[in-house]
């Protein structure tokens, strides 16, 4: 069976800034992998290299066995199968929640209006905001906006989902709603690569946790290993800061 994501010796430079310095990582189909690490360690860049929002400098990325780093690959076709959820939601502000979830179905998958709307409504229900279909993003709370963004990605029927700190821009009391949706997705068997600072979520939901620092993977293992019993000093220092911010 092919893996959902395979990353081999991935390097990414921004000018002289070596942000990723040889990443090897595999996400099996149906797995949830959480990426943790300090700010600037390259977590977002890693995620963005998977759907080629950033072009890797060197190395290979395979999604469902297809090498996306191959210059001849149809990148739009690859992206269609990868859902992405951003920290800042990035909903289209000139469209209602429903239109946000419909537009790419219509324009990219060429689904008819009726079908797109039905799929959109189903997915808005799925994330618990079926009643907000007619609202514009500006009329929704952050938590609701992020759930629309998740529905928008799900409506494309992706094989896997990338989440880049989906709850970091939310008020604390809204974080739970979004995490609940993600937990449900994980239970349904969605393949997920999640950058997060929510250690509770990572411990409960992740099959594996990857700790990144300085553009390399420092530790990679089960949540109990990496969060519960970290072997590396850098991991311990990071976790101490995240879990006991006052200390």
């Amino acid at each position: 069976m092919t893996n959902a994501i395979e990353i081999r010796d991935l390097h990414k430079h921004f000018g002289k800034n070596e942000v990723l310095r040889g990443i090897d990582c595999t996400v099996e189909t149906g797995q949830v992998v959480c990426v943790i690490g300090p700010s600037g360690s390259g977590k977002s860049t890693l995620l963005r290299c998977v759907n080629l929002l950033e072009e890797p400098t060197r190395g290979k990325v395979l999604v469902e066995g297809v090498e996306v780093t191959d210059p001849d690959v149809d990148i739009d076709a690859v992206r269609r199968r990868i859902g992405m959820v951003f920290q800042q939601f990035n909903l289209f502000p000139h469209m209602t929640a429903l239109q946000n979830v419909m537009i790419a179905q219509q324009r990219v998958l060429k689904r008819g209006k009726k079908e797109a709307e039905q799929i959109a409504r189903t997915n808005l229900e799925r994330v618990g905001i079926g009643d907000k279909a007619g609202s514009y993003p500006a009329q929704l709370s952050g938590g609701q906006q992020q759930r629309v963004a998740i529905a928008r990605a799900l409506a494309m029927g992706p094989d896997l989902m990338l989440f880049d700190e989906p709850t970091s821009a939310l008020d604390p009391e809204l974080v739970g709603d979004v995490l609940a949706v993600m937990r449900k997705l994980a239970e349904e068997g969605m393949t997920m690569l999640v950058v997060t600072h929510e250690m509770g979520f990572a411990r409960e939901v992740a099959d594996r946790v990857v700790f990144m620092d300085g553009g390399v993977i420092v530790e990679d293992g089960s949540p109990d290993q990496v969060i519960g019993d970290p072997q590396q000093e850098r991991t311990r220092t990071f976790l101490k800061r995240v879990l006991h911010p006052e200390g």
């Binding site: 289209f92 000139h94 790419a104 009329q139 963004a149 990605a153």
Partner: protein, 279 residues
């Protein structure tokens, strides 16, 4: 004078209570009203109302302006303005796209153009246009006087409109393209579906402002040495004023400008509000 309330800042014992901020404000406002009343009374008493009316608002001179005020002057003002607006819209869009281009010489050309045409007085451009036939023998601006006026307004307007477009396109956050691309949209599809509709919303109010600015600048056509059927509001008012040695026609022209500019100004404000509000 004693304050019932204790002073907000603890004064040293024995020091006289100072004026409270609210009281100070009240006194200051009373003074402002007094000054205003004094000026209004002064103007009413000392202005020569008869002479003013005679020179600036003489009904029978105003009457002479009709109907050409609307059938010729306003019509021509609108022709010059709309023509110049369309010209500046198209050239401005091209310049904005050049300025955002990845091809460096395009950016240079666009920057140079914008700097020059925003830095020069519009009047100078109009004067230069009148010399074009001298500089380029045999060359005629197509459309005659209309063409010259539209060219002048368009060249100047394009520099400002280019900046409006550039700002509008850049104001759409980068995350919008990324979201669109991550859903599998091509670059062109993302522009059409996501970026341009948002940029248009951003650009509408400043573009209406641009239209009003062009409308006012169309008065510079005066310096092209136009006459007869080509005159617009300013020239029309000025000619009649000279003819009757009376400023009333200029006032009438002015009112006609306001007839167009004030509603447009309100429209801009409305559009700006709609943009910031929840749809």
């Amino acid at each position: 004078m004693t304050d019932r309330l204790p002073p907000p800042v603890a004064a040293e014992p024995g020091a006289k209570a100072r004026l409270s901020p609210r009281k100070k404000q009240r006194i200051s406002r009373a003074i402002q009203y007094a000054v205003l009343v004094a000026i209004v009374v002064g103007v009413i008493l000392y202005a020569d109302w008869g002479s003013l009316a005679e020179n600036f608002a003489k009904p029978d001179v105003a009457d002479k302006a009709l109907p050409e005020l609307f059938t010729v002057a306003l019509r021509n003002t609108i022709i010059y303005t709309v023509g110049g607006f369309v010209f500046s819209f198209v050239l401005g869009l091209v310049l904005a796209l050049m300025k955002l281009s990845t091809v460096r010489p395009y950016r240079w050309i666009s920057t140079l153009y914008i700097e020059i045409f925003r830095g020069l007085p519009a009047l100078l451009i109009f004067l230069l246009i009148t010399f074009l036939p001298l500089a380029l023998p045999g060359f005629e601006v197509p459309g005659g006087t209309y063409g010259q006026g539209i060219l002048g307004l368009g060249l100047v307007g394009a520099a400002y409109q280019a900046e409006v477009f550039r700002a509008g396109l850049q104001a759409v956050p980068k995350g919008q393209v990324e979201a669109a691309r991550s859903l599998g949209m091509s670059a062109a599809r993302a522009q059409v579906t996501v970026i341009i509709p948002q940029a248009i919303r951003i650009v509408i109010p400043p573009t209406t402002n641009q239209f009003v600015a062009l409308l006012k600048d169309s008065s510079l056509v005066l310096f092209l040495g136009v006459s007869g059927e080509y005159v617009e509001l300013a020239k029309f008012g000025n000619d009649l004023a000279s003819q009757y040695a009376n400023a009333t026609p200029i006032m009438v022209s002015g009112l006609t400008y306001l007839l167009v500019t004030i509603p447009l100004g309100h429209l801009t404000t409305r559009l700006e509000k709609r943009k910031t509000g929840v749809r």
